[in-house]
């Protein structure tokens, strides 16, 4: 990029506006194109392989009216929420506990890090074996998937706390609990929020995939059972709703994050 192009960045407002209009128009155009392609693809591929978007819309409406869609969504979200709470609590508590026992932490750390490599979804059949076919194996799945990013973030955050702040607090007579609360917790807050943004959508995804494998309710169940009964429209409906759900949660998180961290001038990129 020669500097004359940098000069273009300092473009006049009319040029900038034109660009933004072009971009927005392009986006709308692309969205329309994709929807059109979906319709054409559905017509071409037939009802077995693809579902007509209009039929999907109709199914969404009818399922909402009958209440079954809302029920599925509720079940999935409840599962995600409970699993998230458990995973989060453990992910936060464990590093703080380990903080008091550095020797134990050091001894166990390689195994914890190695366990990150185990694909948690692969454990679901085991969980089903152990915990039955109700919510329990799914809760374990969600809990684990939430636990790891939170644990790693809090753990790293605690490690990275400025030693001097802790020493200073100790000298001032603060108790261990107070140090934990004031100094450490506030220091690791940005790390924690970054992990939260990852963990929350993951919780919902995990619930859905858990429902692929076990259970008789929830969005995942809806998708998988539709597939097994060759109800392609049902499959598409479920996927559309699930995707929309996760995207909405993502967007909400971004907005909340922005508002909570609006006062932070610098620390935007707490990527763990």
């Amino acid at each position: 990029m020669t500097s004359h192009e940098t000069a273009l960045d300092l473009a006049e407002p009319s040029q900038v506006k034109w660009r933004q209009c072009a971009v927005t128009a392009g986006r709308i155009g692309l969205a329309a194109l994709l929807l059109g392609a979906w319709k054409l693809g559905a017509d071409a591929a037939g009802p077995v392989y693809a579902a007509d978007p209009i039929k999907v819309l109709q199914r969404i409406v009818s399922d909402t009216a009958s209440g079954s869609l809302l029920r599925h969504i509720y079940v999935t979200l409840r599962l995600s929420a409970i699993g998230f709470a458990i995973g989060c609590a453990c992910g936060i508590a464990l590093p703080f506990l380990l903080r008091r026992m550095p020797r134990l932490t050091n001894a166990v750390e390689p195994y914890i890090m190695a366990s990150v490599g185990v694909p948690k979804y692969a454990l679901v059949p085991l969980f089903i074996l152990w915990f039955g076919i109700d919510d329990a194996p799914k809760l374990w799945l969600v809990g684990l998937l939430v636990f790891y990013p939170i644990f790693i973030a809090v753990f790293a955050g605690i490690r990275n706390v400025d030693r001097r702040l802790i020493d200073m607090a100790r000298v001032a007579g603060a108790s261990e609990a107070m140090i934990s609360r004031e100094v450490i917790w506030n220091s690791l807050l940005p790390f924690f929020f970054a992990a939260l943004k990852i963990a929350l959508p993951r919780a919902v995804s995990a619930a859905i995939i858990g429902e692929f494998l076990v259970g008789n309710e929830g969005l995942g169940y809806m998708i998988e059972s539709s597939r097994q009964s060759f109800d392609t429209t049902g499959v598409f409906t479920g996927i559309v709703v699930a995707t929309a759900l996760v995207l909405v949660i993502n967007a909400a998180l971004v907005r909340i994050d922005r508002r909570l961290n609006a006062w932070r001038p610098v620390e935007r990129h707490m990527e763990v």
Binding site: T2, S3, H4, A7, L10, E12, P13
Partner: protein, 265 residues
């Protein structure tokens, strides 16, 4: 017999693009005119912020000019139109920038060979030339090192010979020895003069150090503060080869120094 100057600058002016709604920014360079002759070592002095780098950027055709003309070998260069810029003027103008701008993913040798690779001139002769230059600036043994493994001075030297290796007729230099310690600087000044002597290239050398300008140049131009113009021109008759380390003891030095100093604000 009057030989036309190799590089001619006439009424060169530059101001930067402004954001809409603000007053037009002031001129960085205004009606700057000078010429450079073939085989000449021209030094340019000016206070910091006087647009020295901008001037070199325009000569190298990285930046466009708001007004004025640059002629190279009697052909006008297209510097008024940002889209028509021809950086380096098809490899006729080399440019040693202030930052070394070495490619971090290439070893020293690969960096020095880079212009040859890009120009498709990589062969036995040019490789030998590269090796010779590496030896000339004392980088032998560091050919396989990556830039992060070299000290600042070594990177500077590599950047210098990277331009020398493809032998452009004109070389622009933007305070190349500015950030170095005195020892390395003197050594490199000597190396530069020695290499320049071999080929009698045309060099336009920008510096803020008056002693360096006198030690190296045939002629010294002084730039005024913004908006920059030529504040003065000083011929340097100190005979070559020059003793860089002892330049200050030369009889012509004090007068030259004073007259230049007086013009640099």
């Amino acid at each position: 017999m009057a030989v036309p100057p190799l590089l001619e600058v006439r009424d060169l002016s530059k101001r930067f693009a402004t954001r809409a709604g603000r007053d037009p920014s002031s001129w960085v360079i205004q009606q700057l005119s000078f010429s450079v002759h073939d085989g000449e070592f021209l030094t340019i002095i000016g206070p910091s912020g006087s647009g020295k780098t901008t001037l070199l950027n325009m000569l190298a055709q990285i930046d466009s000019a708001s007004d004025g003309e640059v002629r190279f070998q009697s052909v006008t260069a297209p510097i008024n139109d940002p889209k028509a810029l021809n950086p380096g003027l098809s490899c006729k103008i080399g440019y040693v920038t202030q930052e070394d701008n070495l490619l971090p993913w290439r070893t020293t040798l690969e960096n020095v060979l880079f212009p040859l690779t890009v120009q498709g001139r990589l062969n036995e002769q040019t490789r030998a030339r590269a090796q010779m230059l590496i030896g000339a600036v004392g980088l032998t043994g560091f050919e396989k090192h990556y830039p992060h493994e070299l000290s600042g001075g070594m990177r500077k030297r590599a950047s210098l010979i990277r331009t020398l290796v493809y032998d452009p007729p004109v070389i622009l230099m933007d305070e190349p020895f500015g950030a170095l310690d005195a020892q390395t600087r003197t050594q490199l000044q000597e190396d530069l003069l020695r290499l320049w002597n071999l080929g009698r290239k045309t060099i336009v050398f920008v510096t803020h150090d008056i002693t360096e300008a006198i030690a190296l140049g045939d002629r010294t131009l002084v730039l005024s503060k913004s908006p920059a113009r030529i504040a003065g021109e000083h011929r340097n008759a100190i005979p070559r080869p020059r003793d860089i380390r002892g330049i200050m003891t030369h009889q012509d030095f004090p007068a030259l120094y004073q007259s230049i100093r007086a013009q640099v604000q």
